[in-house]
Every structure is written in C-alpha cells, then in structure tokens.
C-alpha cells in the first residue's frame, strides 16, 4: 500500500532512520533470537527459525562496494549488482521479473559504501522455486551486452533526475569536499562519464573477483528449519560454494584517505527554490573506533535523538526554523562523515548555521546533564526489540553484525557498552570528534536570498 504522493507526515521517522542507523546494533530484551552460525567453504551462514508466519527473508551480503572500484570506473559495484537480475544462463531479464512477481515475492539488490546485498522475501510455499531463482541470479549471471547498455542508460537518467532533489545535490557536493580522493567521496551509482568507461569485461571481472563464498555472509530468517536450509543450499548453491578466490588478487580495498580541507569552506549551489538545504560537517569515524558508543550517545543528545535532541528542540521547537534537522555520524568500515542537515527558508540560512555552530560548541565546552545522559541511554538500550521486529529486519541486522565484526555476543553486550558512557566521556569525544573551526558547509538554495556576510563573520570566529 505504498502511495507515491500520499501525504503521510513522517513526524520523526526520517530523523530516526539516521539516528538509529547507529543505534541499529543494540540489545534484545525478553524474547531471545536463537542464531545458528555455520560456515560453508568460507561463507558465514546465519539462521534464525521463526515459525509464526509462513514467510522467509534472506539476505546475502557480498563484500564488494565502491571501496573496490577504480575512480574512473565509479559505479562498477552498483552496476554489477544491478545486472544480476538482468539475465542468467537460464533466464532472460524479463523471465526473472515475471517468475518472481508471479509468486508475490520481492527480490532486490543494493549497494552501500561498504558492501552489496542481495535480498529476497518469499512465502514458504514458494521457497524452493524462489531460492532456485535467487541462486540462479547469484551464481549464473550472464551480463548480456544489450542489458548492460539499457541499465547504464536508466542509471544515467536517474542520476539526472536526482539533480532535481536539492538535498541530494547538497550531499553530493558535501561528500566530495569531505573525502577528497577517497572512494567515499563518490556516489554509489557513479557518474554518466564513469558509467561510459565500464565495459562488460569490467563487470565480469568484478563479479568473478568478489562474488565468492569466502567474501559472503548469508542470513536466512523465518519459517525454515536447519535441515531444510541445508538441503536448499546443497541443491541450488553447491557449485558456487566450491568456488575459491584467486591468490594473485587481493580482495582488500586499495584506498587512500586524504583530508582536503583545513579551514571552513562554504559552497552555495544556486537553485530556484524556496529553502536552503544546508549540510554542515567534516570527517568522522569508522565503525571500529573505540569511542564509538560515547559518540553514539553524544550524537543522540546533540542531534540524533529526534525530538529529544538539542538541535530539534532549539531550531524547530523554539525557533520555528525548520521541519527537519538532525546530526549523524555515518559509521562505515573506513571513517565516514559527521554532518548536520537542515532545510530552512533561504533567508534563515545564516541564523540556522549560527545556531548549529553554537550547539556544537556548547556540547564541546559544557557537560551534558545527567538527565540527558540517562534519557539517551534508556532510549538506546530500550529501543532495541523494535529493530528486530520482523524477519526482514533480523536478516539484515545479522549480516551487518557479522560484517562489522561486532561479535556473536553483541546483542547481549550492547547495553553494557552504552551504559558505561559518562558525561565526562561525552565531553571528551565531543572535543575530539566535533570541529567548529575546520568544517565544510554546502547550501543548495536561492543564492541571492542567502546573505553570507553574517557567515563570513562566523568563519573568522575562533
């Protein structure tokens, strides 16, 4: 029942998506999820049996992303993943769609900064048929030239259409400034030019190099027993599971992380629109940063906690400047970015920026209150069961825990990790990881209505 234009007001949901991307990995209370973990020729298999509904959700994570691309072939990981559904040695593109949709199942691929996922949700009665198709597109893609051409045109078209979205163009410019030559500076889908550089051979090579059991994590959650799962894998994936990685080629990404800015940099992208879409921030942290949990709690209080956050309280509730404001640390395998995003009418841009900087300074200089700390902790530890409500959510969650090496006891340990955070450690990480002197601001908005003189003064404030 998704309706493109239905005016459902997501009062806080967009904010929570960001805030909880970090909080995603939290404890399970009450009901336990029994995870069976095995390994088949290097592929980690995670299985949870849930029998209340006749459905199964499957997530296959492949360690391939833009971290593995050459810059001039940006978009290769995404294009390779998208091509899985566009033809196999047994089926044409249209046949794959027809068969999956006839079952009322959903099959999809997506690529983020760190990895690729192939997902399917299917009714129990169609599991064998569905899993056969799932395995077929994973193990036998044929990458037809004509489909590659078609897919490239569609991606180029959608890249162009996305330019209509002011928050997209702002974020594109922002990551470019923050990450310089690092792969995270690039859009997952690539650029029209880089897509033109990608040939069928590149896709085949990328697939052969990365789509291997040793490079994969599979999670299967729902109405399926261990025996059934084993039989399915034997029947449909056994040949692929015998594949091994070639020793000459390393799977490790070749990356260099350079920071390209040393003083505030302000960019305005001039568009004929009513709001300034502002992103302010700088380089952040990776998922394995030892200060991760202190940062999660600090960010919740600053701008990650929806209506509980300071930025929302001040800029929305008190000042009426915006509908949406939040801060986030995008935590990835490599250090991601810290950013604050807001939309406000063009004329209010300087006021909003000034107040955002005030709030960042405040959390660096002053201890948060014990009340704020305890509210944040109780949200972060108490909200966990919601993250694991459905089979789909569990399947995605388990592959992420495994990918980021969070440990098999992660679910149990999470409250401990959060509860050891103190007001002192929050101030410490705020000082260490928030920068009010060297930062990037990108604004997509109507230039003539955005008065920067006030901003110039801000830039000189030390």
């Amino acid at each position: 029942m998704t309706r493109k234009h239905m005016n459902k007001k997501a009062f806080t949901s967009t904010l929570f998506i960001i805030a909880l991307f970090i909080a995603l990995l939290s404890p399970l209370m009450g009901h336990t999820v029994e995870i069976k973990k095995t390994n088949i020729n290097g592929m980690t298999v995670l299985h949870v049996e849930r029998n209340a509904l006749p459905i199964i959700s499957i997530t296959l994570l492949i360690k391939a992303s833009l971290l593995n691309e050459e810059p001039e072939k940006s978009g290769l990981a995404n294009l390779t993943a998208s091509m899985l559904q566009e033809g196999t040695t047994k089926r044409k593109s249209t046949e794959i769609n027809e068969e999956i949709e006839f079952l009322g199942a959903s099959l999809g691929v997506s690529v983020n900064r760190d990895y690729t996922t192939l997902t399917m949700s299917i009714l129990k009665k169609d599991l064998h048929k569905g899993f056969e198709i799932f395995s077929d597109i994973l193990t036998n893609p044929s990458f037809p030239e004509i489909e590659i051409k078609r897919k490239k045109e569609l991606i180029k078209g959608s890249l162009r259409q996305r330019e209509e979205d002011p928050s997209y163009i702002a974020s594109k410019a922002f990551i470019k400034d923050v990450f310089g030559s690092h792969p995270y500076s690039r859009v997952t889908a690539g650029t029209p030019e880089s897509l033109d550089n990608i040939q069928r051979d590149d896709i085949v090579r990328f697939y052969n190099k990365h789509y291997l059991p040793q490079n994969s994590i599979l999670s299967v959650v729902g109405n399926i027993s261990s025996e059934e799962l084993k039989k399915l894998l034997d029947k449909h994936m056994s040949d692929w599971l015998k594949r091994t990685k070639s020793h000459e080629e390393s799977l490790a990404p070749q990356v260099s992380l350079t920071s390209t800015f040393t003083s505030p940099k302000v960019t305005i992208l001039d568009r004929d629109i009513t709001q300034a879409n502002i992103i302010l921030g700088h380089k952040g942290i990776s998922r394995d940063n030892p200060d991760f949990y202190d940062i999660v709690v600090m960010n919740y209080i600053l701008g990650g906690g929806g209506f509980a956050s300071r930025l929302m309280k001040v800029l929305r509730d008190e000042m009426g400047l915006t509908y949406s404001i939040y801060s986030s640390f995008s935590v990835n395998k490599e250090p991601g970015e810290f950013s604050v995003e807001i939309q406000t009418k063009n004329e209010s841009a300087p006021t909003a920026i000034k107040e955002i900087l005030n709030q960042i300074k405040k959390i660096k200089q002053e201890f948060v209150s014990e009340q704020e700390l305890s509210d944040a902790k109780s949200y972060l530890t108490g909200s966990f069961p919601r993250r694991l409500e459905t089979s789909r959510k569990i399947a995605d969650f388990l592959t992420a825990i495994e990918f980021y090496n969070l440990g098999d006891d992660y679910i149990k340990k999470y409250p401990e990790y959060i509860n050891k955070v103190t007001i002192e450690s929050i101030k410490k990480v705020a000082q260490k990881y928030l920068d009010t002197e060297n930062f990037i601001i990108v604004i997509a908005g109507k230039k003539e209505k955005i008065d920067l003189s006030e901003l110039d003064q801000l830039k000189n404030l030390k």
Partner: protein, 446 residues
C-alpha cells in the same frame, strides 16, 4: 515435515479467509471503540488512535488545519508540557509518530509491551486537555510552512501532483492538499484550531487499536480507566461533525478532459494523468486494484515492460489506485520521460496501453499474478504489529475491520473480463485530468 508445513499454512489461510487475524472488539460506554490483536512474536506492542478527521472535513479557507492540529498534539496539555509526550516515549525506548490524510488522522507509539500503558495515559490526556498555547501555534505554523516548502514548493513532481488533484476536483474538498495552501496555513488561528479539536477529537469519532505481545483481559481495564471517563462527543458538536463528514458536496461528473502545465526548474519532463474512479466497497474497486497491478505492479507489468524496458520512453512509470478513500477519488498514471525522449511520446504510449486493455481482457495468468501479489503482501505485512494495525484501521474507518475479509474475497473473485470492463468504464478521455511538468532550465549552469 511436509504435513506439518501444510498444517501451518492451513491455519494461516483459515485466519485470513475467516477473520483475517483475530481481532477482539470492545466499545466503551462513551463510544470509543477498542480493537485488540494479540501477537507474541516479539516483545513489543503498538498503540494506534485513529480520529475520523482529515483535510476533507476542513472549512473552506482553512486547508491544512487537521494537519496543523496533529502537530499541535505534540505541543503540550495542562498535564504534560510541550514535547513531553515524545520525550516520555523515547526515554522508555519507544517511538511515536503521527500522520494526517484526506480522511483521517492517526497517532501511534511502539514500545516494549510492558510499557504500553504509557500510551493509554498520554493519549487519553491529549484527547481532551490540549493547551493550544497561542505562542506555540504561531511557532508551529512556521514549522509547517517549512514542511510545505520542503515537500511541495521545492519538489517539482510533488508540486505537479498537488496541481493535478486541485484541477481534477472542483467541488469536493478532496481538491485541497492535506498540508494546506500556504495562505490558509498562515490564516489559521488558535480559535480555529480549538473549534476543530473540540469538534472532532472525542470518543465516538475515534477508535483505538492495540497490537502486540499483550492480553486483552489485562489491558482492557486499564484502557477503560484512562479513556472511560472522557465525555462523549457533545450532541451539537456531533451534529456539526456529522454534517461536515457525511454530507460533503458530491463532485459533479466531469465532462471533458482537463489539461494543466507547470513550469518549474526541473531536470526532466514528468506527467500525471488522473481519472475519476469509485472507492471500496464499490463493486468495481477490486477490479480497479487488479487493473493497476497488471498495468504497473512491478517490472513484469505492462507499462514497465513495454514503456520503460522495451521502448525506453520513461525512466520510471506508475499506475496507482488506492481504493480505500472514503469518497470516490482518482486513478493515477505517472512517469518521468527518459532523457532525449518527448513527454508526448510517453503520453501516447500510456494511452495505447489503456486502449489495449480496454479492448482485450488480460490473460488469466496476469490476473492471477496480481492476486498473488495482493495475498503475499498481506501476509508479509503481518510480520509487523504496525502494519496489522494499519490494515485493521483502514477498514474500520470505512465501517468495520471485518470489511478486510470482504476486500480480500473481492480481489480473489476478479475475472479478466472485470478488468477489461472497469478499464472501459473509467479510463476514458472525458474524465481525465492531465498534468505536464515543463522543466525550466537555469539560465547559467554553474
């Protein structure tokens, strides 16, 4: 093992075809209805309160008042201060949210099930004790104006949608957007909000749905304690409400195509076509649903396969029928032209698909595929407490949650001939409104 599996399937199917899922219904003496669905899959519960008021019920010149009131519901009562509602829910590990549509306003919280009593306390309080502090009202109007800028003014495709709906209707209040026109939002006063609140936020104009790891016999007494003392909808106000919500002016028949253009900074041309159609439980609603899926439900649908995949005339395409509006609404088509193609070719291609299905019934396999998609998505939705509540509430709004069963049965009995018949009956030139987004290029590309 196979026997065991088929037994599970049988039970599920039995529930779907008999009672969908087990709903326990109870009505308090003041008129508020409580629907409870017990589900112990996860240690959670969702509380939803539905008010039968949306933008369709707004007085002329005050569009957006229902939505603004929804915002104000978070801004404090005599007991709990501004934003305390959300803060209490969050510090208990929960989330809360709300949304407004043309027909209704819904508030919900999801919490671990042992804390769901917080919802009873907080929701019963704001049903009657809302402050509507004038200062907060002025500040929240600014927030909503920013929301409007973000969602409509600066989004060319959404702006076109708003224009098309406003043109398709000339009398019915469905013509104005839920968020309201900018000048209407500006004109709403504290008194307007208070009147709206007192007219529509009362027991018999609301119902409650609780889904999750709870037992009806344990929570009903608590619900009774919190909501039972609230006075019933006052007689005169009930009359006002009845007048607005049940005697909305009906939309006269459209006689001739309407065309509108929107010129705005954008990258690619985009178009929407809207045809007047009936809503559920009209007998045509089932076939209209199946028709929309055959035309655009997935990549194997006719529009995607022929227009996006084969002819490459569009980047994306949709046919959208939402049959659960309270009054007759619209069947939409929409698509973004692919670069280097013309929007005229896209429009023609859509007409040719309409013509085809109006002349020749779809194959029985296409109809079966659409039915399978409806059934499967219904089963998938049951994995989430929120979705189960949503399904239940959408039908309760139209009279009774039991209508869900009628809906699923209706879908199951659609024939290829039915699909052809409704295509012929509704997708006709004289009843459509076409909107075209004409991209204005920036003078200087930077």
């Amino acid at each position: 093992m196979p026997l065991f599996i088929s037994l599970i399937l049988f039970i599920i199917t039995f529930f779907i075809s008999s009672h969908c899922f087990a709903v326990k219904e109870h009505t308090l003496t003041n008129g508020i209805k409580v629907l409870i669905i017990e589900d112990s899959k996860s240690p959670l519960a969702t509380f939803q309160i539905w008010y039968k008021v949306g933008s369709k019920d707004e007085p002329y010149g005050k569009s957006g008042i229902s939505h603004l009131l929804e915002h104000m519901m978070f801004k404090g009562t005599s007991k709990y201060g501004s934003k305390e509602f959300s803060n209490i829910i969050q510090k208990n590990g929960g989330v809360d949210n709300a949304f407004t549509t043309k027909d209704y306003t819904m508030y919900y919280q999801t919490l671990s099930s042992d804390r769901i009593h917080l919802s009873f306390e907080l929701e019963s309080d704001r049903m009657t004790n809302l402050l509507l502090d004038p200062k907060e009202v002025e500040s929240e109007k600014k927030v909503v104006m920013e929301e409007r800028r973000m969602r409509y003014e600066d989004d060319p495709q959404n702006a076109l949608y708003e224009d098309v709906v406003a043109s398709a209707f000339k009398v019915h209040s469905y013509r104005w957007p839920v968020i309201g026109w900018m000048s209407d939002i500006a004109s709403i006063s504290r008194e307007d909000l208070y009147t709206h609140y007192k007219s529509f936020y009362c027991p018999s104009n609301a119902f409650i749905i609780i889904v999750g790891d709870i037992k009806a016999e344990n929570i009903l007494p608590v619900v009774e304690e919190k909501f039972g003392h609230i006075s019933p909808c006052p007689g005169n106000l009930t009359d006002t409400r009845k007048k607005t919500s049940h005697e909305l002016p009906s939309e006269p028949e459209q006689k001739g195509q309407k065309r509108i253009y929107l010129k705005k900074e954008a990258q690619l041309p985009y178009m929407i076509m809207a045809y007047h159609v009936q809503s559920f439980p009209h007998e045509d609603s089932y076939a209209l649903e199946v028709l929309s899926i055959i035309l655009a439900g997935g990549k194997s649908s006719r529009l995607y396969e022929n227009i996006v995949y084969e002819k490459k005339l569009a980047l994306n395409i949709y046919a959208e029928y939402y049959g659960l509006y309270r009054y007759p609404f619209l069947f939409f088509f929409g698509g973004t032209a692919a670069p280097q193609t013309s929007i005229e070719d896209l429009e023609k291609a859509i007409y040719s698909e309409i013509e085809k299905i109006s002349k020749e019934p779809p194959s029985s396999k296409e109809v079966q595929k659409a039915k399978n998609q409806v059934e499967a998505s219904f089963i998938f939705a049951q994995d989430s407490n929120f979705s189960k509540g949503l399904y239940t509430g959408l039908f309760e709004l139209l009279g009774s949650w039991k209508l869900l069963e009628k809906y699923l049965d209706g879908i199951r009995s659609v024939t290829p001939e039915d699909v052809k018949r409704v295509a012929n009956k509704y997708l006709i030139d004289d009843k459509k409104t076409v909107g075209i987004l004409v991209p204005l290029k920036k003078e200087t590309e930077q």
